[in-house]
């Protein structure tokens, strides 16, 4: 098992303004599960794109089986036995499973043979799939299987997996890990990209840690504690958010009360909300877990007022507001931060000042006699930038120009600094680095301390376990009853999230 499969030697890649990879070297042997560990923006994605032929390195060399390896295109990489499972952006919702698989193959067999092969391979690896289903109708876990099966059909020597578990329930993660171990035992090397340390400790043989484009260390994950790896990855000592005792506000009505909320999804291939009931008091944080596509976006729309319901379905301090539009709810103290940053939370081509105005106009009274008070808006945008450590040349730059993590910090800051009564956030720490994530979590707790009722919707269990007082899960548009977060085990959470989504057939014995 010591035969070397892939060697990366001194690879450097620079984009205008940033060096994505600088002199990166490491090696993977046959059958090894190798972790590539690093924060967002550490250069993991650029590195694997070079291995997969999507990006060409500026300097440095790669070797596969001891031969020089420089794939000009993904198809060249696939021909050499390198396959990749993408984080997102690689499936076609309107096409069926077999068509999606065919698109990722060099010489696909006729559709009927391919469909049989898909059924056979997917059952063999414990990932059952129906080749005729439309991908738009599949759950996130099933979609990922489509990608994995697409790779497996090409008999890869090296399988690259980019953050594969971010969309899975804990049970689905277990199934995936069994599949990966089976592959590794058959001699396939796996390059596993993640920032989830416990997973890497459970799965990987070796780890290479990247920070700001450079290799800052290698280790054997089983022998190192998660905390040590995290500190290598971040380059600083991390402190978990501090939480002080909850104050009882003694309200007669909950700040936010949702009763029997049902609504059809306005999003194509969306999930409609079914009979959702919960309530949040002032000073309380309700965490809502769930795998992507189980109604998170729709729930946020219904709470922010973009999706109207019957008046009695949503109540604020006892008064029905289910049929009121977003600005009326903002006036009552609602703020909402959607998951989709470009296009939903922010207008990509508008400046940060303009984006600040769009959501803050009502609560920060940024208008005077119907005209925009630009100087006040600008001052406020600058405050948000300073307070939330948004790295930007200025507030005049377009939202599109900020990196994902920086824009997220700005958008969360914009909502949280409006002195809110009710906060609804979807995916608060998506795409931000560990230090910023800790800061955002702390801000959420501080808002609750100030008397806001907070609903945090997230696919990141760490987010939820650190901030929430009570915990519920969305599953196919239904919400489980909320339970106190203290004392919940990961297994219980997994079951609340819907277990393995009808994937019970997987892995017998």
């Amino acid at each position: 098992m010591t035969t070397e499969l892939l060697r990366i030697d001194g690879v450097t890649k620079a984009y205008p303004g940033v060096v994505a990879n600088s002199d990166v070297s490491f090696a993977i042997s046959k059958g090894e599960i190798h972790a590539l560990l690093g924060e967002n923006g550490a250069g993991k994605s650029t590195l694997v794109k070079m291995i997969y032929g999507l990006v060409k390195p500026d300097s440095g060399s790669m070797a596969l089986h001891g031969q020089p390896y420089a794939p000009a295109r993904p198809s060249a990489a696939r021909n050499s036995g390198v396959a990749m499972v993408f984080q997102h952006f690689s499936l076609f919702e309107a096409l069926n499973v077999a068509e999606n698989v065919a698109l990722g193959m060099e010489n696909p067999p006729p559709m009927r043979t391919l469909a049989e092969k898909i059924s056979a391979v997917s059952t063999e690896y414990g990932l059952p799939l129906d080749p005729t289903r439309r991908v738009g109708d599949l759950s996130a876990g099933e979609r990922q299987r489509v990608e994995i099966v697409r790779c497996l059909l090409q008999d890869p020597k090296l399988l690259i997996m980019d953050e594969p578990t971010s969309v899975l329930t804990p049970q689905e993660v277990d199934i995936l890990f069994q599949t990966l171990r089976q592959l590794s035992a058959e001699g396939t090397a796996i390059l596993y990209i993640s920032h989830k340390l416990e997973e890497i400790r459970a799965l990987c043989d070796e780890a290479t840690i990247l920070r700001r484009g450079k290799v800052v260390g290698t280790c054997t994950p089983r022998d190192v504690s998660a905390r040590d790896m995290a500190e290598m990855m971040v380059g600083a000592v991390l402190t978990p958010p501090a939480r002080s005792a909850r104050k009882d506000w003694g309200d007669a009505h909950a700040a936010l009360e949702v009763t029997g909320l049902s609504a059809a999804s306005p999003i194509p291939f969306g999930t409609s909300l079914k009979d959702i009931t919960f309530s949040v008091q002032r000073g309380e944080v309700l965490g809502i877990a769930g795998v992507a596509g189980n109604g998170q976006d729709e729930l946020l729309l219904a709470l922010s007022g973009e999706l109207r319901s019957a008046p009695e379905m949503v109540k604020c301090f006892g008064s029905p507001i289910g049929d009121t539009p977003p600005n009326a709810r903002r006036a009552l103290g609602f703020v909402a931060a959607p998951e989709d940053r470009l296009g939903h939370a922010a207008a990509p081509d508008m400046s940060l000042v303009e984006n600040a105005f769009l959501s803050g106009a009502v609560r920060k009274t940024l208008t005077r006699n119907g005209f925009i008070d630009w100087s006040k808006t600008k001052r406020w945008a600058e405050e948000v930038v300073a307070q939330y450590d948004v790295r930007t040349p200025g507030t005049w730059v377009a939202a599109r120009a900020l990196s994902g993590g920086n824009l997220q910090k700005f958008l969360i800051g914009r909502e949280l600094s409006q002195a809110p009564e009710v906060v609804i956030i979807n995916q608060p720490t998506w795409g931000v680095d560990a230090a910023a994530a800790a800061f955002i979590r702390q801000e959420i707790l501080d808002r609750a301390q100030d008397g806001a009722a907070v609903v945090v919707i997230s696919q990141d269990l760490d987010d939820l376990l650190e901030v929430s007082d009570r915990f519920a899960a969305l599953n196919e548009g239904r919400l489980t009853p909320a339970r106190p977060t203290e004392g919940l085990t990961v297994d219980e959470i997994g079951l609340m999230m819907g277990g393995a989504h009808g994937m019970e057939v997987a892995h017998h014995g």
């Binding site: 032929g53 999507l54 295109r73 993904p74 198809s75 696939r78 993408f86 952006f89 690689s90 499936l91 076609f92 919702e93 309107a94 096409l95 068509e99 065919a102 698109l103 990722g104 696909p108 738009g136 306005p266 194509p268 291939f269």
Partner: protein, 310 residues
């Protein structure tokens, strides 16, 4: 066998002829839209096809070369659109509208010396005794080659989109250019080729107008046929065989209203002339009132520009 002065066999035969230009333009646009590009310049490309085809046919004396010339001329104009939208990332809607205006003006300039000339005759396909069959012979076996070619093209586009790898890649590009790019497909190249195909088909349709249907050159000869072709693509939910049905429906209505006018029906002419467009609007309203865009089967990336850096 006449109803109110209209012979049904003649009516069906003439609607088949009348629908050829919009059918060709619509099937071309369908391929373009399946690749995720919205080219609103169909009208401009059709009229370029009409004048280029006319000039080529008159100069060479060959209707066949005329059709080739029409396809090449319109494809040339669509190349302008392709470069602007795919390479220079211009807005597709604005560029498409500009293309129509440009095509109308340029064709008028090119056609100045050709008004009042008769093009060489496009002969009918000789089916021998079949053409003399009662009713059927009149409807099915009494046409020029383009009528049959247009149906063959519909069948070919359907088969390619449904069964071939090329068609699958084309649909994939139109569904999600980011995913297609991640898998290593050349999004820009595929879209440019689709645009050229769409241009060539619109050109064939235009040449059919000036060489067979009218047949002579006048300014603005297409008279909105390109816009009807665009509507047919939506009407057909981006499905090739429904393009055939849609084209026959619209062709049929325009022929019927002409015949009704000639037969002296007591409906004002204006109502008859507006009927194809009214029906277009009704159909679009009914179809879009369903379960949103997905139920209409529209390509998900339609009209979005693609830039590889993302």
């Amino acid at each position: 066998m006449d109803f109110g002065g209209i012979n049904p066999a003649v009516l069906v035969a003439s609607l088949m002829v009348a629908s050829v230009p919009i059918m060709l333009a619509a099937i071309g646009e369908l391929v373009v839209e399946k690749a995720g590009v919205l080219n609103l310049g169909v009208e401009g490309m059709m009229i370029m096809g009409a004048i280029c085809g006319f000039i080529t046919a008159v100069q060479t004396g060959s209707p066949f070369l005329g059709f080739v010339g029409g396809a090449v001329g319109a494809a040339g104009l669509s190349l302008v659109f392709a470069v602007l939208t795919q390479v220079l990332q211009a807005n597709q809607v604005a560029t498409g509208l500009a293309l129509t205006l440009f095509g109308l003006g340029l064709s008028s300039l090119m056609g100045q010396g050709y008004v009042g000339i008769k093009p060489p005759l496009t002969s009918q396909v000789p089916f021998g005794p079949l053409a003399d069959l009662p009713v059927l012979g009149r409807i099915l076996f009494n046409h020029d080659p383009m009528v049959y070619l247009s149906i063959i093209i519909i069948a070919a586009v359907w088969a390619v989109l449904k069964f071939s790898r090329m068609g699958l890649v084309l649909r994939a590009v139109g569904e999600s250019h980011d995913a297609a790019h991640a898998l290593g497909y050349k999004v820009t190249r595929i879209r440019i080729l689709a645009i050229l195909f769409g241009g060539a088909m619109a050109g064939l349709g235009g040449a059919y107008l000036s060489l067979v249907r009218v047949p002579q050159w006048t300014d603005g000869i297409t008279a909105g046929a390109g816009w009807i072709a665009l509507a047919i693509v939506v009407f057909a939910s981006w499905k090739p065989w429904r393009v055939l049905i849609g084209a026959y429906l619209f062709g049929g209505i325009s022929v019927l209203q002409l015949n009704l006018q000639a037969a002296g029906a007591r409906i004002p002419v204006e109502y008859l002339s507006m009927s194809p467009y009214v029906i277009t609007i009704i159909v679009l309203v009914i179809m879009s009132s369903g379960k949103g865009r997905a139920s209409m089967n529209a390509p998900a990336a339609l009209g979005q520009n693609f830039h590889a850096s993302r």
